[in-house]
């Protein structure tokens, strides 16, 4: 019997050059589950944003006395009707992340007013069905997308 929940775990160094590897892995898992091309594209952007935040956070930290490699752990949790992706950094300090739904950062503004802050979290919320951010020792972002099979779209 197939387990209700199957988990694939990937751990990569917290550097930008590994984010495309996370995207490729996500593509493989989501395609196997039957997600549409568009849904996979949405998830690729959201997961990359979560990884970007983890990587930027790793660089912000003070260099520890013993230089240890910073990692980002990505867990893909396959459920019957959804895919959840948990992106976790092993940061030693906590950082404040606003979980409140954001309005689009650039809509209805003049060129003098616009700025790029908050775009990543906004995109995650706009592209996924559910986003949860936990901050304690390090930050953990859980992104969930419901599986809509192609026959249900017809």
């Amino acid at each position: 019997m197939k387990a209700i929940e199957e988990v694939v775990t990937l751990q990569v160094p917290a550097t930008a050059e590994y984010v495309d590897l996370v995207r490729v892995t996500l593509y493989g898992i989501a395609a196997k589950m039957g997600f549409s091309y568009e849904a996979i594209e949405d998830m690729k952007v959201a997961v990359s944003e979560a990884c970007n935040n983890a990587i930027l956070h790793a660089y912000e930290q003070e260099v520890p006395a013993v230089l240890e490699q910073q990692n980002v752990e990505i867990k893909f949790i396959k459920q019957l009707d959804s895919l959840s992706i948990i992106v976790k950094d092993n940061g030693h300090s906590s950082r404040a992340v606003s979980e409140a739904p954001q309005t689009s950062p650039l809509h209805g503004k003049t060129i003098g007013e616009i700025h790029s802050g908050g775009l990543g979290l906004y995109l995650m919320q706009a592209l996924m069905d559910h986003v949860e951010v936990l901050t304690s020792a390090g930050t953990q972002v859980t992104l969930t997308k419901r599986l809509v099979r192609s026959e249900e779209l017809a």
């Binding site: 930008a16 650039l106 060129i111 003098g112 700025h115 995109l123």
Partner: protein, 107 residues
């Protein structure tokens, strides 16, 4: 990683116009390279500056953030910056963030 996904940047300069063609994946990994390439072009205020995205496969918030900073710098210098040939998947993200109207209008 597929070869077509690799980020590539090419600049074409004619009298009065400078066009930057970017292809592949424009993300955090190539942010430094992109900023360095755009910096001197932003200063050429006697020329129109355009970014052609025809072969762009992917952009993230870092990429969009760079477009915002180029927009602002050009606007401050009263110089034009446009983004052209935007693929539908990229356009969707531009529309979501609200950057589209800024990219298609003239300074």
């Amino acid at each position: 990683m597929k070869q077509q996904d690799k980020f590539h940047l090419r600049t074409e300069t004619t009298e009065g116009r400078c066009t930057v063609y970017v292809s592949g994946e424009f993300d955090l990994e190539v942010a430094g390279q992109m900023r360095a390439a755009m910096a001197p072009l932003i200063e050429l205020t006697d020329r129109e500056l355009a970014l052609n995205l025809q072969d762009l496969k992917y952009i993230d918030s870092t990429g969009i953030g760079i477009l915002v900073s180029v927009l602002k710098a050009r606007h401050a210098n009263n110089a034009a910056f446009t983004v052209e040939a935007i693929p539908p998947s990229i356009r969707k993200l531009f529309d979501m963030t609200g950057i589209t109207p800024f990219l298609t209008q003239q300074a």
